[in-house]
């Protein structure tokens, strides 16, 4: 009897807590940017908020803090799903998210629409980056662009012949037993799908993120084969491992970001990186504000700051991605000559075969009711099976 009473009290407590836990989504946009709150808590991709501690010449946080009085605290996300979970903890004002986080955050109401009228630098942004599926919902902007880039194929030029396709990490994986370096995330399944689009056109893959069960199984089979050759893993939180491993020759071929490529080239490691012929996965990142942001004024000021020529120019040179405006391009040229051409900032054709990260959905993210695809839970389970077996 006694125990029962304790249990009942506990149950009531739990239900109360759960009830408090569900946040009410607010669609209120800011009407004007007020005074800064003095603090800003961000979720970032590695290298997106540099304060000069890594390289004194790359510092776009300190000028922002001095100008606005908003002290920036940044947390690095390991991959997009991790970023989503971080934002939902309610401790952040916003962050930089890729398409496979933004679609989920917008649909779930975790992020708020952005009043772009308040942002001075928004007008300069390339039109091709505005009102895209990954940064707006029903024509309402939900964030501002940061930069975009492809996931690249990287290899050690001393141990691996020059490559033109992804074959090196798939069909030829056996040649690099234990020395493959791949991205540790279910999102990597899309990389397998892109390779299949070129090698097995019969599968009829039209979008590497929306796969029918048959197409999905083929991608997993390709990954299973690759996993028998003991690849090593990296992600957004452990990218530094990949740099160390390539520099030491522990791994000789794999998938990477321009960021690691730049770091390795800076220390004169014998590597080369390309966008292979099949095309590749990639990202077009967006700064978004949490619907429950505690410091909305600071977040708006940050979004505006990140579109400024100086900040965007520096940040995109630092990470090795494409700037978001002509002004930022011009500024980037002053620190890294040829940066805009190198990253194809204005060359829309280049981006044609780059599939920006997006989330797998049961309805294939289309209007066709007859098709069903493997949803993201299916991707997560498949990845658990691959890495855990």
């Amino acid at each position: 009897m006694r125990h029962l009473r304790v249990l009942a009290v506990m149950a009531v407590f739990v239900i109360l807590l759960a009830a408090c836990g569900s946040p009410a989504a607010s669609d209120d946009m800011l009407d004007e940017i007020g005074e800064g709150e003095g603090e800003l808590n961000l979720i970032i991709w590695a290298g997106y908020a540099e304060d000069g501690s890594a390289f004194p010449e790359f510092d776009w946080v300190t000028p922002f803090e001095e100008e606005t009085g908003c002290i920036v605290n940044a947390t690095v996300q390991a991959d997009s799903a991790n970023g989503v979970q971080l934002l939902r903890s309610g401790e952040y004002d916003g962050g930089s998210f890729s398409g496979n986080a933004t679609d989920r955050l917008m649909a779930a109401g975790d992020v708020a629409p952005v009043n772009v009228e308040l942002l001075e630098n928004y007008g300069n942004v390339f039109d091709g980056l505005k009102d895209q599926a990954h940064n707006s919902l029903d024509g309402v902007p939900y964030g501002v662009p940061h930069g975009r880039g492809p996931n690249l194929l990287i290899w050690n030029t001393e141990e691996v012949e020059p490559q033109t396709t992804w074959e090196g990490i798939w069909e030829n994986a056996a040649e690099y037993e234990g020395r493959l370096s791949i991205f540790d995330s279910p999102d990597f399944i899309a990389d397998a799908a892109i390779h299949l689009m070129a090698t097995q056109p019969d599968l009829g893959i039209e979008n590497p993120y929306q796969l029918s069960q048959e197409q999905f199984d083929a991608a997993i089979a390709l990954l299973e084969e690759q996993f028998t050759h003991n690849p090593q893993f990296w992600n957004g939180a452990t990218f530094a491992d990949q740099i160390t491993a390539f520099a030491a020759g522990d791994v000789v071929i794999g998938t990477t970001w321009q960021f690691q490529v730049n770091s390795l080239l800076a220390e004169e490691a014998p590597i080369e990186a390309i966008k292979p012929e099949e095309g590749t996965t990639g990202w077009s990142d967006t700064w978004m504000i949490a619907s429950e942001a505690a410091n909305p004024n600071c977040m708006y000021m940050w979004m505006d700051h990140m579109m400024s020529a100086e900040a965007n120019g520096q940040a995109t040179v630092y990470f090795g991605e494409a700037p978001t405006s002509q002004e930022a391009c011009d500024y980037a040229e002053t620190i890294a000559e040829g940066h805009c051409d190198l990253t194809h900032a204005t060359d829309e054709e280049y981006w044609g075969d780059i599939w920006y990260w997006s989330t797998a959905r049961e309805d294939c993210a289309d209007d066709d009711d007859s098709t069903t695809c493997v949803d993201y839970d299916g991707w997560v389970e498949a990845w658990t099976t691959l890495t855990g077996s």
């Binding site: 304790v6 009290v9 506990m10 407590f13 739990v14 807590l17 759960a18 836990g21 569900s22 390991a78 799903a81 991790n82 989503v84 979970q85 939902r88 679609d103 989920r104 649909a107 779930a108 234990g178 279910p186 003991n230 090593q232 893993f233 491992d241 160390t244 491993a245 520099a247 030491a248 020759g249 522990d250 989330t359 959905r361 049961e362 949803d375 993201y376 839970d377 299916g378 997560v380 389970e381 990845w383 658990t384 099976t385 890495t387 855990g388 077996s389």
Partner: protein
């Protein structure tokens, strides 16, 4: 202080004190209420919410949990996929291996400390064993990482012999680091257990003609077994729940990694359902440990 001022509040608090003196049970309840609220509300409450998640569904697109949408889908998925069993067996196997390793390392050290060493040396050894516990757990793991790395210390030592470094993807790395991390938790209980064994018993055993090995097997070991089991609770359960070591020094996936990955990747029901498993294993282990008398020697 209240008596010195002698104001009205003092009278009130004195009346309260008198009332409490007359009602010892109320006194006890008041004293225990704060820690109890903490234990039941915050500690068990949060665990309960976590476990409730196991019986709820989540939206496969947004990853948000739908509270009170009851379903056993998470359990069906876990039972329907062999990988969860493989990972569980790997983890339990590692926990047992680490426990045995630590026991084999700890018994001689503890025996030396308790029976052989001079008081001075004993004090020094106790400090030496406690010292690593002052350093952060993460610092120690990263120290081991720098040893294992492809261009790290071990590679440098082994290079002249033509042996490559282990790198950071070997499951044996996890075994070494776990054994290192939890060793003090095994040494200390065995050491206190051995200290309690009366010296006269060992002498009696020798007088009756038993050799050192026999004495150890038939006298010392049975007497310190409860301490050994007590130590093994730490080594076993700490290994069972850890996900940082396997992640940082190896590529191996343990129970903790699956739970962490699924909660990080937004499949909370799976993470919650799977976290029931280590809870059940540890409860089972504790029940066995209690039978062996481990709690009497803690």
């Amino acid at each position: 202080m209240t008596t010195r001022t002698g104001e009205k509040p003092a009278g009130r608090s004195r009346r309260l004190a008198a009332w409490l003196h007359a009602h010892p049970r109320a006194q006890l309840r008041l004293l225990l209420s704060a820690p109890l609220v903490w234990l039941v509300g915050v500690y068990i409450g949060s665990l309960t919410i976590l476990l409730l998640n196991a019986f709820w569904t989540s939206d496969s697109f947004t990853g948000k949990v739908n509270p009170f949408d009851w379903s056993l889908a998470a359990f069906e998925q876990i039972l329907g996929n062999d990988v969860y069993r493989t990972v569980a067996l790997r983890t339990v196997g590692m926990a047992l291996l680490v426990t045995v390793t630590d026991a084999l390392l700890a018994i001689p050290i503890a025996y030396y400390m308790a029976r052989v060493a001079s008081p001075r040396a004993r004090r020094f050894l106790v400090i030496a064993i406690l010292m690593p516990l002052w350093a952060s757990y993460l610092v120690k793991i990263f120290a081991w990482r720098s040893i294992f790395l492809g261009n790290g210390f071990l590679a440098w030592v082994l290079q002249p012999f033509g042996i490559a470094g282990p790198g950071t993807d070997e499951i044996t790395n996890s075994w070494i680091v776990f054994s290192y991390l939890w060793l003090p938790y095994m040494i200390l209980p065995i050491y206190t257990g051995l200290e309690r064994v009366p010296g006269s018993l060992l002498e009696a055993s020798a007088d009756l003609g038993a050799r050192a090995g026999t004495t150890f097997r038939r006298v010392v070991l049975p007497l310190v077994l409860p301490s050994l089991v007590a130590g093994s609770i730490f080594t076993f359960s700490l290994t069972l729940g850890d996900y940082i070591v396997p992640d940082l020094v190896s590529d191996a996936t343990f129970i903790g990694n699956v739970i962490y990955d699924n909660s990080a990747l937004g499949n909370f029901p799976i993470a919650a359902a799977y976290s029931l498993l280590p809870i059940l294993i540890v409860i089972g282990y504790l029940l066995v440990a209690r039978r062996l008398g481990a709690f009497d020697s803690l």
